[in-house]
Protein backbone atom coordinates (compact mmCIF):
# COMPACT_ATOMS: atom_id res chain seq x y z
CA UNK A 1 0.00 0.00 0.00
CA UNK A 2 1.31 3.42 -0.94
CA UNK A 3 -1.29 5.09 1.29
CA UNK A 4 -3.39 4.08 4.28
CA UNK A 5 -7.11 3.68 3.77
CA UNK A 6 -7.64 6.81 5.87
CA UNK A 7 -5.30 8.80 3.61
CA UNK A 8 -7.17 7.59 0.53
CA UNK A 9 -10.50 8.47 2.11
CA UNK A 10 -9.19 11.96 2.77
CA UNK A 11 -8.16 12.35 -0.86
CA UNK A 12 -11.63 11.18 -1.94
CA UNK A 13 -13.22 13.74 0.37
CA UNK A 14 -11.26 16.54 -1.30
CA UNK A 15 -12.16 15.23 -4.75
CA UNK A 16 -15.84 15.25 -3.74
CA UNK A 17 -15.51 18.86 -2.58
CA UNK A 18 -13.95 19.76 -5.92
CA UNK A 19 -16.75 18.02 -7.81
CA UNK A 20 -19.58 19.95 -6.18
CA UNK A 21 -17.64 23.22 -6.36
CA UNK A 22 -16.80 22.73 -10.06
CA UNK A 23 -20.38 21.89 -10.99
CA UNK A 24 -21.66 24.77 -8.87
CA UNK A 25 -19.10 27.11 -10.41
CA UNK A 26 -20.46 26.73 -13.93
CA UNK A 27 -24.00 25.72 -12.92
CA UNK A 28 -23.82 22.65 -15.13
CA UNK A 29 -22.29 19.19 -15.22
CA UNK A 30 -22.89 15.80 -13.68
CA UNK A 31 -22.31 15.57 -9.93
CA UNK A 32 -24.23 12.34 -9.16
CA UNK A 33 -22.07 9.64 -10.69
CA UNK A 34 -18.94 11.78 -10.26
CA UNK A 35 -19.46 11.59 -6.49
CA UNK A 36 -20.32 7.91 -6.71
CA UNK A 37 -17.02 7.14 -8.43
CA UNK A 38 -14.74 9.33 -6.27
CA UNK A 39 -13.54 6.33 -4.26
CA UNK A 40 -12.81 4.31 -7.39
CA UNK A 41 -10.80 7.13 -8.97
CA UNK A 42 -8.86 7.69 -5.78
CA UNK A 43 -8.04 4.01 -5.41
CA UNK A 44 -7.10 3.75 -9.06
CA UNK A 45 -4.80 6.76 -9.38
CA UNK A 46 -3.30 6.80 -5.87
CA UNK A 47 -2.94 3.09 -5.25
CA UNK A 48 -3.43 0.78 -8.22
CA UNK A 49 -2.40 2.40 -11.49
CA UNK A 50 1.26 2.24 -12.51
CA UNK A 51 1.39 5.64 -14.17
CA UNK A 52 3.51 8.72 -14.77
CA UNK A 53 2.31 12.28 -14.48
CA UNK A 54 4.72 13.57 -17.18
CA UNK A 55 2.10 12.70 -19.71
CA UNK A 56 2.73 11.13 -23.11
CA UNK A 57 -0.05 10.02 -25.44
CA UNK A 58 1.48 6.59 -25.96
CA UNK A 59 2.13 5.90 -22.28
CA UNK A 60 4.74 3.24 -23.03
CA UNK A 61 5.48 1.13 -19.97
CA UNK A 62 2.52 2.63 -18.07
CA UNK A 63 -0.93 1.36 -17.22
CA UNK A 64 -3.56 3.34 -19.14
CA UNK A 65 -7.05 4.35 -18.07
CA UNK A 66 -10.04 5.07 -20.33
CA UNK A 67 -13.29 6.69 -19.21
CA UNK A 68 -16.22 5.67 -21.38
CA UNK A 69 -18.97 7.53 -19.48
CA UNK A 70 -17.34 10.88 -20.11
CA UNK A 71 -20.01 12.95 -18.38
CA UNK A 72 -18.41 12.16 -15.01
CA UNK A 73 -15.49 14.33 -16.07
CA UNK A 74 -15.44 16.35 -12.79
CA UNK A 75 -14.21 13.35 -10.79
CA UNK A 76 -11.55 12.56 -13.37
CA UNK A 77 -10.33 16.16 -13.66
CA UNK A 78 -10.05 16.57 -9.91
CA UNK A 79 -8.25 13.23 -9.58
CA UNK A 80 -5.79 14.09 -12.35
CA UNK A 81 -5.07 17.47 -10.76
CA UNK A 82 -4.41 16.02 -7.31
CA UNK A 83 -2.34 13.21 -8.84
CA UNK A 84 -0.10 15.88 -10.41
CA UNK A 85 -1.08 15.97 -14.08
CA UNK A 86 -1.90 19.71 -13.98
CA UNK A 87 -2.37 22.42 -11.40
CA UNK A 88 -5.55 22.22 -9.37
CA UNK A 89 -6.25 25.91 -9.99
CA UNK A 90 -7.30 24.90 -13.49
CA UNK A 91 -10.32 23.09 -12.02
CA UNK A 92 -11.96 26.53 -11.72
CA UNK A 93 -12.17 26.69 -15.54
CA UNK A 94 -14.38 23.58 -15.83
CA UNK A 95 -16.94 23.97 -18.65
CA UNK A 96 -15.98 27.60 -19.22
CA UNK A 97 -14.90 29.22 -22.49
CA UNK A 98 -11.29 28.51 -23.58
CA UNK A 99 -10.84 25.81 -20.94
CA UNK A 100 -8.94 22.54 -21.35
CA UNK A 101 -11.55 21.06 -18.99
CA UNK A 102 -14.36 20.59 -21.48
CA UNK A 103 -17.78 19.39 -20.38
CA UNK A 104 -16.78 15.96 -21.60
CA UNK A 105 -13.13 14.83 -21.70
CA UNK A 106 -11.24 15.36 -24.93
CA UNK A 107 -7.75 15.27 -26.38
CA UNK A 108 -8.65 18.31 -28.47
CA UNK A 109 -7.40 20.82 -25.89
CA UNK A 110 -4.44 18.59 -24.94
CA UNK A 111 -5.29 18.15 -21.27
CA UNK A 112 -2.66 15.82 -19.76
CA UNK A 113 -4.13 12.47 -18.76
CA UNK A 114 -6.76 12.25 -21.50
CA UNK A 115 -6.11 9.91 -24.43
CA UNK A 116 -9.48 9.87 -26.24
CA UNK A 117 -12.65 11.92 -26.32
CA UNK A 118 -15.69 10.42 -24.63
CA UNK A 119 -19.19 11.67 -24.02
CA UNK A 120 -21.21 10.04 -26.74
CA UNK A 121 -21.72 6.82 -24.84
CA UNK A 122 -20.72 3.24 -25.49
CA UNK A 123 -17.39 3.78 -27.22
CA UNK A 124 -14.78 3.50 -24.45
CA UNK A 125 -14.54 -0.26 -24.15
CA UNK A 126 -13.65 -0.64 -27.83
CA UNK A 127 -10.98 2.03 -27.51
CA UNK A 128 -9.56 0.36 -24.40
CA UNK A 129 -9.38 -2.96 -26.26
CA UNK A 130 -7.54 -1.25 -29.11
CA UNK A 131 -5.03 0.26 -26.70
CA UNK A 132 -4.61 -3.20 -25.13
CA UNK A 133 -3.94 -4.81 -28.51
CA UNK A 134 -1.31 -2.17 -29.28
CA UNK A 135 0.38 -2.81 -25.91
CA UNK A 136 0.55 -6.49 -26.76
CA UNK A 137 2.04 -5.82 -30.20
CA UNK A 138 4.61 -3.53 -28.58
CA UNK A 139 5.58 -6.19 -26.03
CA UNK A 140 4.45 -3.83 -23.25
CA UNK A 141 3.13 -5.81 -20.31
CA UNK A 142 1.30 -2.88 -18.71
CA UNK A 143 -2.43 -3.04 -18.02
CA UNK A 144 -5.42 -1.23 -19.47
CA UNK A 145 -8.19 -0.03 -17.15
CA UNK A 146 -11.57 1.27 -18.24
CA UNK A 147 -14.68 2.59 -16.52
CA UNK A 148 -18.12 2.22 -18.05
CA UNK A 149 -21.42 3.56 -16.79
CA UNK A 150 -24.17 1.03 -16.19
CA UNK A 151 -26.75 2.96 -18.19
CA UNK A 152 -24.44 3.14 -21.19
CA UNK A 153 -24.41 -0.65 -21.37
CA UNK A 154 -27.70 -0.11 -23.21
CA UNK A 155 -25.52 0.97 -26.16
CA UNK A 156 -24.94 -1.96 -28.53
CA UNK A 157 -21.27 -1.21 -29.22
CA UNK A 158 -20.43 -2.37 -25.69
CA UNK A 159 -21.65 -5.83 -26.54
CA UNK A 160 -19.64 -5.95 -29.74
CA UNK A 161 -16.62 -5.16 -27.59
CA UNK A 162 -17.72 -7.57 -24.85
CA UNK A 163 -17.84 -10.37 -27.44
CA UNK A 164 -14.48 -9.44 -28.99
CA UNK A 165 -12.28 -9.23 -25.88
CA UNK A 166 -12.66 -12.79 -24.51
CA UNK A 167 -12.53 -14.38 -27.97
CA UNK A 168 -9.25 -12.58 -28.62
CA UNK A 169 -7.90 -13.27 -25.12
CA UNK A 170 -7.47 -9.60 -24.23
CA UNK A 171 -6.46 -10.58 -20.71
CA UNK A 172 -4.59 -7.46 -19.62
CA UNK A 173 -7.78 -5.41 -19.52
CA UNK A 174 -9.71 -4.57 -16.33
CA UNK A 175 -13.04 -2.91 -17.09
CA UNK A 176 -15.12 -1.61 -14.21
CA UNK A 177 -18.84 -0.89 -14.40
CA UNK A 178 -20.23 1.92 -12.25
CA UNK A 179 -23.32 0.00 -11.19
CA UNK A 180 -25.37 2.73 -9.52
CA UNK A 181 -28.67 1.66 -11.06
CA UNK A 182 -29.62 5.19 -12.12
CA UNK A 183 -29.79 7.05 -15.41
CA UNK A 184 -31.23 10.34 -16.64
CA UNK A 185 -34.83 9.21 -16.97
CA UNK A 186 -34.91 7.18 -13.75
CA UNK A 187 -33.73 3.86 -12.30
CA UNK A 188 -32.17 1.57 -14.91
CA UNK A 189 -34.62 -1.09 -13.73
CA UNK A 190 -37.45 1.06 -15.11
CA UNK A 191 -35.77 2.62 -18.15
CA UNK A 192 -34.23 -0.55 -19.62
CA UNK A 193 -33.26 -3.13 -17.04
CA UNK A 194 -29.69 -4.43 -17.05
CA UNK A 195 -30.70 -7.45 -14.96
CA UNK A 196 -27.95 -9.95 -14.21
CA UNK A 197 -24.86 -8.23 -15.55
CA UNK A 198 -22.58 -10.80 -13.97
CA UNK A 199 -24.26 -13.64 -15.84
CA UNK A 200 -24.31 -11.63 -19.06
CA UNK A 201 -20.58 -10.85 -19.00
CA UNK A 202 -19.69 -14.37 -17.84
CA UNK A 203 -21.69 -15.77 -20.74
CA UNK A 204 -19.53 -13.64 -23.04
CA UNK A 205 -16.40 -15.13 -21.44
CA UNK A 206 -15.30 -12.47 -18.95
CA UNK A 207 -13.95 -13.13 -15.46
CA UNK A 208 -16.36 -11.10 -13.32
CA UNK A 209 -15.66 -9.86 -9.80
CA UNK A 210 -17.93 -7.82 -7.55
CA UNK A 211 -16.81 -4.90 -5.40
CA UNK A 212 -18.37 -2.24 -3.23
CA UNK A 213 -17.34 0.93 -5.03
CA UNK A 214 -17.98 3.19 -2.05
CA UNK A 215 -15.89 1.24 0.45
CA UNK A 216 -12.28 2.35 0.01
CA UNK A 217 -10.77 -0.80 1.47
CA UNK A 218 -13.01 -2.99 -0.67
CA UNK A 219 -12.30 -1.13 -3.88
CA UNK A 220 -8.53 -1.09 -3.33
CA UNK A 221 -8.51 -4.80 -2.52
CA UNK A 222 -10.85 -5.52 -5.40
CA UNK A 223 -8.66 -3.75 -7.96
CA UNK A 224 -5.50 -5.41 -6.59
CA UNK A 225 -7.25 -8.76 -6.82
CA UNK A 226 -8.31 -7.96 -10.37
CA UNK A 227 -4.64 -7.38 -11.25
CA UNK A 228 -3.80 -10.90 -10.07
CA UNK A 229 -6.36 -12.23 -12.54
CA UNK A 230 -4.70 -10.66 -15.59
CA UNK A 231 -2.65 -12.74 -18.00
CA UNK A 232 -4.88 -15.77 -17.62
CA UNK A 233 -6.69 -15.69 -20.93
CA UNK A 234 -9.75 -13.69 -19.92
CA UNK A 235 -10.59 -9.98 -19.67
CA UNK A 236 -11.70 -8.94 -16.20
CA UNK A 237 -14.92 -7.13 -15.37
CA UNK A 238 -15.24 -5.39 -12.03
CA UNK A 239 -18.94 -5.04 -11.30
CA UNK A 240 -18.78 -2.19 -8.84
CA UNK A 241 -21.85 -1.21 -6.88
CA UNK A 242 -21.93 2.50 -6.08
CA UNK A 243 -24.40 5.04 -4.85
CA UNK A 244 -25.05 7.99 -7.12
CA UNK A 245 -24.25 11.15 -5.14
CA UNK A 246 -22.21 9.23 -2.52
CA UNK A 247 -20.94 11.57 0.20
CA UNK A 248 -23.66 14.19 -0.13
CA UNK A 249 -26.77 13.01 1.66
CA UNK A 250 -29.39 14.86 -0.33
CA UNK A 251 -27.93 13.69 -3.65
CA UNK A 252 -27.89 10.00 -2.75
CA UNK A 253 -30.31 7.32 -3.85
CA UNK A 254 -31.86 9.24 -6.72
CA UNK A 255 -31.23 9.92 -10.41
CA UNK A 256 -32.25 13.55 -9.89
CA UNK A 257 -28.66 14.72 -9.40
CA UNK A 258 -27.37 12.96 -12.50
CA UNK A 259 -26.94 16.23 -14.37
CA UNK A 260 -28.08 19.03 -12.06
CA UNK A 261 -25.93 21.66 -10.37
CA UNK A 262 -26.43 22.66 -6.72
CA UNK A 263 -27.39 26.24 -5.85
CA UNK A 264 -25.47 28.28 -3.23
CA UNK A 265 -27.40 26.89 -0.32
CA UNK A 266 -27.12 23.30 -1.55
CA UNK A 267 -23.41 23.79 -2.16
CA UNK A 268 -22.91 24.91 1.45
CA UNK A 269 -24.88 21.89 2.68
CA UNK A 270 -22.74 19.57 0.57
CA UNK A 271 -19.42 21.10 1.61
CA UNK A 272 -20.40 20.84 5.28
CA UNK A 273 -20.41 17.06 4.83
CA UNK A 274 -17.06 16.89 3.00
CA UNK A 275 -13.93 17.79 5.00
CA UNK A 276 -11.35 19.89 3.16
CA UNK A 277 -8.26 17.69 3.36
CA UNK A 278 -5.85 18.83 0.65
CA UNK A 279 -6.91 22.44 0.22
CA UNK A 280 -9.59 23.71 -2.14
CA UNK A 281 -8.54 24.92 -5.59
Amino acid sequence: MKHTIKELEDIASQIRRDIVRMVHGCQSGHPGASLGCADFFTALYFEVLNHKTDFTMEGAGEDLFFLSNGHISPVWYSTLAHAGYFDKSELATFRKLDSRLQGHPTTHEHLPGIRIASGSLGQGLSVAIGAALAKKLNGDKSLIFALLGDGELQEGQNWEAAMFAPFNKVDHLIASVDYNGQQIDGPTSKVLALDDLQAKFEAFGWHVINTDGNDMKAIVEGLHYAKTLTGKGKPILNLMSTQMGAGVDYMMGTHKWHGTAPNDEQLAAALAQLPETLGDY
Binding site: G119, Q123, G130
Partner: protein, 318 residues
Protein backbone atom coordinates in the same frame (compact mmCIF):
# COMPACT_ATOMS: atom_id res chain seq x y z
CA UNK B 1 -6.51 15.54 -76.47
CA UNK B 2 -3.66 13.59 -74.91
CA UNK B 3 -3.92 9.90 -75.72
CA UNK B 4 -4.49 7.51 -72.82
CA UNK B 5 -4.43 3.79 -73.43
CA UNK B 6 -4.61 0.77 -71.23
CA UNK B 7 -3.51 -2.81 -71.53
CA UNK B 8 -5.46 -4.23 -68.62
CA UNK B 9 -8.45 -3.63 -66.40
CA UNK B 10 -8.22 -4.00 -62.64
CA UNK B 11 -10.31 -3.10 -59.62
CA UNK B 12 -9.26 -0.20 -57.39
CA UNK B 13 -9.78 -2.39 -54.31
CA UNK B 14 -6.94 -4.60 -55.53
CA UNK B 15 -4.83 -1.45 -55.70
CA UNK B 16 -5.70 -0.91 -52.05
CA UNK B 17 -4.73 -4.49 -51.18
CA UNK B 18 -1.39 -4.12 -52.97
CA UNK B 19 -0.74 -0.73 -51.37
CA UNK B 20 -1.57 -2.02 -47.91
CA UNK B 21 0.85 -4.90 -48.39
CA UNK B 22 3.61 -2.49 -49.46
CA UNK B 23 2.87 -0.09 -46.59
CA UNK B 24 3.01 -3.04 -44.21
CA UNK B 25 6.43 -4.03 -45.53
CA UNK B 26 7.75 -0.48 -45.14
CA UNK B 27 6.43 0.24 -41.65
CA UNK B 28 5.89 -2.33 -38.93
CA UNK B 29 3.42 -0.02 -37.18
CA UNK B 30 0.93 -0.45 -40.02
CA UNK B 31 -1.87 -2.74 -38.82
CA UNK B 32 -5.11 -3.77 -40.52
CA UNK B 33 -8.60 -4.50 -39.23
CA UNK B 34 -11.53 -5.96 -41.10
CA UNK B 35 -15.22 -6.55 -40.40
CA UNK B 36 -15.70 -9.90 -42.14
CA UNK B 37 -14.83 -8.75 -45.68
CA UNK B 38 -11.20 -9.77 -46.06
CA UNK B 39 -11.65 -11.15 -49.59
CA UNK B 40 -13.65 -8.17 -50.81
CA UNK B 41 -11.04 -5.74 -49.44
CA UNK B 42 -8.13 -7.76 -50.94
CA UNK B 43 -6.31 -7.90 -47.61
CA UNK B 44 -5.02 -11.46 -48.11
CA UNK B 45 -1.40 -10.57 -48.94
CA UNK B 46 -1.08 -8.36 -45.86
CA UNK B 47 -2.63 -11.03 -43.63
CA UNK B 48 -0.38 -13.76 -45.04
CA UNK B 49 2.81 -11.81 -44.38
CA UNK B 50 1.77 -10.03 -41.16
CA UNK B 51 -0.79 -12.24 -39.40
CA UNK B 52 -0.02 -10.79 -35.97
CA UNK B 53 -0.72 -7.29 -37.29
CA UNK B 54 -4.18 -8.16 -38.58
CA UNK B 55 -7.35 -8.06 -36.46
CA UNK B 56 -10.56 -9.73 -37.60
CA UNK B 57 -13.34 -7.99 -35.67
CA UNK B 58 -16.33 -9.78 -37.18
CA UNK B 59 -19.47 -7.97 -38.26
CA UNK B 60 -19.06 -5.20 -35.71
CA UNK B 61 -18.00 -2.02 -37.48
CA UNK B 62 -18.52 0.30 -34.50
CA UNK B 63 -16.19 -1.85 -32.41
CA UNK B 64 -13.69 -1.88 -35.29
CA UNK B 65 -13.50 1.92 -35.42
CA UNK B 66 -13.11 2.12 -31.64
CA UNK B 67 -10.38 -0.53 -31.56
CA UNK B 68 -8.56 1.22 -34.39
CA UNK B 69 -8.69 4.52 -32.50
CA UNK B 70 -7.32 2.80 -29.39
CA UNK B 71 -4.49 1.17 -31.33
CA UNK B 72 -3.19 4.56 -32.48
CA UNK B 73 -2.48 5.38 -28.84
CA UNK B 74 0.18 2.66 -28.91
CA UNK B 75 1.71 4.19 -32.03
CA UNK B 76 -0.02 1.90 -34.52
CA UNK B 77 -1.30 3.06 -37.91
CA UNK B 78 -4.57 1.17 -38.32
CA UNK B 79 -6.23 0.62 -41.71
CA UNK B 80 -9.86 -0.42 -41.27
CA UNK B 81 -11.57 -2.23 -44.10
CA UNK B 82 -15.20 -2.74 -45.01
CA UNK B 83 -17.68 -1.50 -47.63
CA UNK B 84 -18.06 2.28 -47.92
CA UNK B 85 -21.58 2.17 -46.54
CA UNK B 86 -20.50 0.36 -43.38
CA UNK B 87 -17.34 2.48 -43.15
CA UNK B 88 -19.22 5.76 -42.86
CA UNK B 89 -22.96 5.99 -42.24
CA UNK B 90 -23.06 2.99 -39.94
CA UNK B 91 -20.25 4.28 -37.73
CA UNK B 92 -20.48 8.03 -38.14
CA UNK B 93 -20.56 8.88 -34.45
CA UNK B 94 -17.70 6.50 -33.65
CA UNK B 95 -15.61 8.18 -36.37
CA UNK B 96 -16.69 11.63 -35.24
CA UNK B 97 -15.81 11.22 -31.57
CA UNK B 98 -13.15 8.52 -31.33
CA UNK B 99 -11.27 9.33 -34.56
CA UNK B 100 -11.87 12.84 -35.92
CA UNK B 101 -12.45 14.84 -32.71
CA UNK B 102 -9.76 12.80 -30.96
CA UNK B 103 -7.44 13.35 -33.97
CA UNK B 104 -6.43 9.71 -34.20
CA UNK B 105 -4.23 8.38 -36.99
CA UNK B 106 -6.84 5.96 -38.39
CA UNK B 107 -7.14 5.20 -42.10
CA UNK B 108 -10.76 4.36 -42.91
CA UNK B 109 -10.55 2.34 -46.11
CA UNK B 110 -13.83 1.88 -47.91
CA UNK B 111 -14.47 -0.43 -50.82
CA UNK B 112 -17.55 -0.93 -53.00
CA UNK B 113 -18.39 2.78 -52.95
CA UNK B 114 -21.08 4.10 -55.23
CA UNK B 115 -23.37 2.55 -57.83
CA UNK B 116 -20.68 0.28 -59.29
CA UNK B 117 -21.06 -2.08 -56.37
CA UNK B 118 -23.82 -3.33 -58.64
CA UNK B 119 -26.25 -6.13 -58.03
CA UNK B 120 -26.48 -5.94 -54.22
CA UNK B 121 -28.53 -2.77 -54.68
CA UNK B 122 -29.16 0.40 -52.75
CA UNK B 123 -28.64 -0.95 -49.21
CA UNK B 124 -24.97 -1.41 -50.09
CA UNK B 125 -24.43 1.40 -52.63
CA UNK B 126 -23.58 4.52 -50.66
CA UNK B 127 -23.73 7.78 -52.59
CA UNK B 128 -23.47 10.05 -49.56
CA UNK B 129 -20.13 9.04 -48.03
CA UNK B 130 -17.96 11.83 -49.47
CA UNK B 131 -20.33 14.38 -47.97
CA UNK B 132 -20.46 12.64 -44.61
CA UNK B 133 -16.71 12.41 -44.33
CA UNK B 134 -15.68 15.78 -45.72
CA UNK B 135 -17.84 17.54 -43.13
CA UNK B 136 -15.76 16.14 -40.28
CA UNK B 137 -13.14 18.69 -39.18
CA UNK B 138 -9.62 17.51 -40.00
CA UNK B 139 -10.69 14.50 -42.07
CA UNK B 140 -8.79 13.96 -45.34
CA UNK B 141 -11.00 12.50 -48.11
CA UNK B 142 -9.42 10.65 -51.06
CA UNK B 143 -11.14 8.91 -54.00
CA UNK B 144 -8.50 7.53 -56.40
CA UNK B 145 -9.24 6.74 -60.05
CA UNK B 146 -7.55 3.46 -60.95
CA UNK B 147 -5.52 0.55 -59.59
CA UNK B 148 -2.16 2.32 -59.70
CA UNK B 149 -3.41 5.53 -58.13
CA UNK B 150 -5.21 3.62 -55.37
CA UNK B 151 -2.06 1.64 -54.59
CA UNK B 152 0.00 4.84 -54.45
CA UNK B 153 -2.62 6.61 -52.33
CA UNK B 154 -2.73 3.75 -49.85
CA UNK B 155 1.04 3.90 -49.41
CA UNK B 156 0.95 7.70 -49.11
CA UNK B 157 -1.66 7.83 -46.37
CA UNK B 158 0.41 5.46 -44.24
CA UNK B 159 3.02 8.21 -44.13
CA UNK B 160 0.52 10.98 -43.36
CA UNK B 161 -0.27 11.65 -39.68
CA UNK B 162 -4.00 12.10 -39.13
CA UNK B 163 -7.41 10.62 -39.98
CA UNK B 164 -8.06 9.74 -43.62
CA UNK B 165 -11.06 8.42 -45.53
CA UNK B 166 -9.95 6.41 -48.60
CA UNK B 167 -12.77 5.52 -51.00
CA UNK B 168 -12.46 2.95 -53.77
CA UNK B 169 -14.58 0.48 -55.69
CA UNK B 170 -15.47 -2.99 -56.79
CA UNK B 171 -15.49 -3.22 -60.62
CA UNK B 172 -12.55 -3.75 -62.94
CA UNK B 173 -11.79 -0.57 -64.85
CA UNK B 174 -8.95 0.57 -67.14
CA UNK B 175 -5.51 1.03 -65.55
CA UNK B 176 -4.12 4.19 -67.12
CA UNK B 177 -2.05 6.07 -64.53
CA UNK B 178 1.69 5.66 -63.98
CA UNK B 179 2.54 2.56 -61.92
CA UNK B 180 5.46 4.43 -60.32
CA UNK B 181 3.57 7.65 -59.58
CA UNK B 182 4.27 9.66 -56.47
CA UNK B 183 0.95 10.33 -54.77
CA UNK B 184 0.67 13.75 -53.19
CA UNK B 185 -2.31 14.24 -50.88
CA UNK B 186 -4.22 17.37 -51.87
CA UNK B 187 -2.48 17.81 -55.22
CA UNK B 188 -4.56 17.65 -58.40
CA UNK B 189 -3.33 15.69 -61.43
CA UNK B 190 -3.54 17.39 -64.81
CA UNK B 191 -4.92 14.71 -67.13
CA UNK B 192 -5.22 16.91 -70.21
CA UNK B 193 -4.55 20.57 -70.85
CA UNK B 194 -7.26 22.38 -72.77
CA UNK B 195 -8.87 25.79 -73.22
CA UNK B 196 -12.66 25.53 -73.65
CA UNK B 197 -13.92 23.88 -70.46
CA UNK B 198 -12.55 22.42 -67.23
CA UNK B 199 -13.71 18.90 -66.45
CA UNK B 200 -12.99 17.97 -62.84
CA UNK B 201 -13.37 14.26 -62.11
CA UNK B 202 -12.75 11.88 -59.23
CA UNK B 203 -12.73 8.09 -58.81
CA UNK B 204 -14.25 5.92 -61.51
CA UNK B 205 -15.40 9.06 -63.35
CA UNK B 206 -11.87 10.00 -64.43
CA UNK B 207 -11.75 7.39 -67.19
CA UNK B 208 -15.25 8.46 -68.26
CA UNK B 209 -13.95 12.05 -68.44
CA UNK B 210 -11.10 10.90 -70.71
CA UNK B 211 -13.60 9.14 -72.98
CA UNK B 212 -15.70 12.32 -72.98
CA UNK B 213 -12.63 14.40 -73.78
CA UNK B 214 -11.98 12.30 -76.90
CA UNK B 215 -15.59 12.74 -78.06
CA UNK B 216 -15.41 16.48 -77.35
CA UNK B 217 -12.21 16.76 -79.41
CA UNK B 218 -14.11 15.28 -82.37
CA UNK B 219 -16.69 18.03 -81.84
CA UNK B 220 -13.97 20.68 -81.83
CA UNK B 221 -14.09 21.29 -78.07
CA UNK B 222 -10.73 21.40 -76.30
CA UNK B 223 -11.37 20.14 -72.77
CA UNK B 224 -9.01 20.54 -69.84
CA UNK B 225 -9.36 17.50 -67.59
CA UNK B 226 -8.25 17.58 -63.99
CA UNK B 227 -8.26 14.63 -61.64
CA UNK B 228 -9.12 15.63 -58.10
CA UNK B 229 -8.29 12.50 -56.12
CA UNK B 230 -8.20 14.43 -52.84
CA UNK B 231 -11.58 16.01 -52.27
CA UNK B 232 -10.41 17.40 -48.94
CA UNK B 233 -8.16 19.31 -48.72
CA UNK B 234 -9.15 20.55 -52.17
CA UNK B 235 -6.44 21.79 -54.55
CA UNK B 236 -7.90 25.30 -54.81
CA UNK B 237 -4.95 26.62 -56.75
CA UNK B 238 -5.14 24.06 -59.57
CA UNK B 239 -8.89 24.50 -59.95
CA UNK B 240 -8.80 28.31 -59.98
CA UNK B 241 -5.90 28.39 -62.43
CA UNK B 242 -7.75 26.15 -64.84
CA UNK B 243 -11.14 27.85 -64.53
CA UNK B 244 -9.57 31.29 -65.07
CA UNK B 245 -8.42 29.96 -68.44
CA UNK B 246 -11.56 28.08 -69.52
CA UNK B 247 -14.37 30.07 -67.89
CA UNK B 248 -16.63 27.09 -67.16
CA UNK B 249 -16.53 23.80 -65.31
CA UNK B 250 -18.13 20.36 -65.18
CA UNK B 251 -17.64 18.21 -62.08
CA UNK B 252 -17.96 14.42 -62.32
CA UNK B 253 -18.38 12.00 -59.42
CA UNK B 254 -20.07 8.70 -58.56
CA UNK B 255 -21.88 10.33 -55.65
CA UNK B 256 -24.93 12.40 -54.84
CA UNK B 257 -24.60 15.93 -56.21
CA UNK B 258 -25.58 17.04 -52.72
CA UNK B 259 -22.46 17.01 -50.56
CA UNK B 260 -19.93 15.73 -53.04
CA UNK B 261 -16.91 16.99 -55.01
CA UNK B 262 -19.12 19.24 -57.12
CA UNK B 263 -20.33 21.17 -54.10
CA UNK B 264 -16.77 21.58 -52.84
CA UNK B 265 -15.79 23.05 -56.21
CA UNK B 266 -18.90 25.26 -56.24
CA UNK B 267 -18.05 26.58 -52.77
CA UNK B 268 -14.58 27.50 -53.95
CA UNK B 269 -15.74 29.15 -57.16
CA UNK B 270 -18.62 31.03 -55.56
CA UNK B 271 -16.28 32.74 -53.15
CA UNK B 272 -13.23 33.17 -55.41
CA UNK B 273 -14.28 33.14 -59.05
CA UNK B 274 -18.02 32.80 -59.84
CA UNK B 275 -18.19 30.48 -62.84
CA UNK B 276 -20.90 28.51 -64.69
CA UNK B 277 -20.81 24.91 -63.42
CA UNK B 278 -22.68 21.71 -64.30
CA UNK B 279 -22.78 18.59 -62.13
CA UNK B 280 -22.43 15.03 -63.40
CA UNK B 281 -23.52 13.16 -60.29
CA UNK B 282 -26.51 11.28 -58.97
CA UNK B 283 -29.50 13.49 -58.28
CA UNK B 284 -30.68 12.97 -54.68
CA UNK B 285 -31.50 9.33 -55.26
CA UNK B 286 -30.72 5.84 -53.99
CA UNK B 287 -29.37 3.28 -56.43
CA UNK B 288 -30.79 -0.13 -57.32
CA UNK B 289 -29.72 -3.58 -58.48
CA UNK B 290 -28.08 -3.94 -61.89
CA UNK B 291 -24.68 -4.35 -63.50
CA UNK B 292 -22.24 -1.49 -62.89
CA UNK B 293 -22.42 -0.40 -66.54
CA UNK B 294 -26.24 -0.45 -66.57
CA UNK B 295 -26.36 1.62 -63.39
CA UNK B 296 -23.82 4.21 -64.50
CA UNK B 297 -25.85 4.64 -67.68
CA UNK B 298 -29.27 4.79 -66.02
CA UNK B 299 -28.14 7.30 -63.38
CA UNK B 300 -26.41 9.60 -65.86
CA UNK B 301 -22.76 8.88 -65.08
CA UNK B 302 -21.44 8.02 -68.56
CA UNK B 303 -19.12 9.81 -70.98
CA UNK B 304 -22.15 10.91 -72.99
CA UNK B 305 -23.55 12.68 -69.91
CA UNK B 306 -20.26 14.54 -69.47
CA UNK B 307 -20.33 15.59 -73.13
CA UNK B 308 -23.87 16.92 -72.72
CA UNK B 309 -22.96 18.78 -69.55
CA UNK B 310 -19.96 20.36 -71.29
CA UNK B 311 -22.08 21.54 -74.20
CA UNK B 312 -24.58 23.02 -71.78
CA UNK B 313 -22.03 24.80 -69.61
CA UNK B 314 -20.17 26.25 -72.60
CA UNK B 315 -23.51 27.71 -73.70
CA UNK B 316 -23.78 29.44 -70.34
CA UNK B 317 -20.41 31.24 -70.68
CA UNK B 318 -20.82 34.98 -71.07
Amino acid sequence: MKKYTYTEKKDTRSGFGAGLHEAGKKNENVVALCADLVGSLKMDAFIKDFPERFTQVGIAEANMIGIAAGMTIGGKIPFTGTFANFSTGRVYDQIRQSVAYSNKNVKICASHAGLTLGEDGATHQILEDIGLMKMLPGMVVINPCDYNQTKAATMAIAEYEGPVYLRFGRPVIPVFTDPDQKFEIGKAWMVNEGTDVTIIATGHMVWKAIEAGEKLAELGIDAEIINIHTIKPLDDEAILKSVKKTGCVVTCEEHNKFGGLGESVARLLTTELPTPQEFVATNDTFGESGTPDQLMSKYGLDAVNIVEAVQKVIGRKK
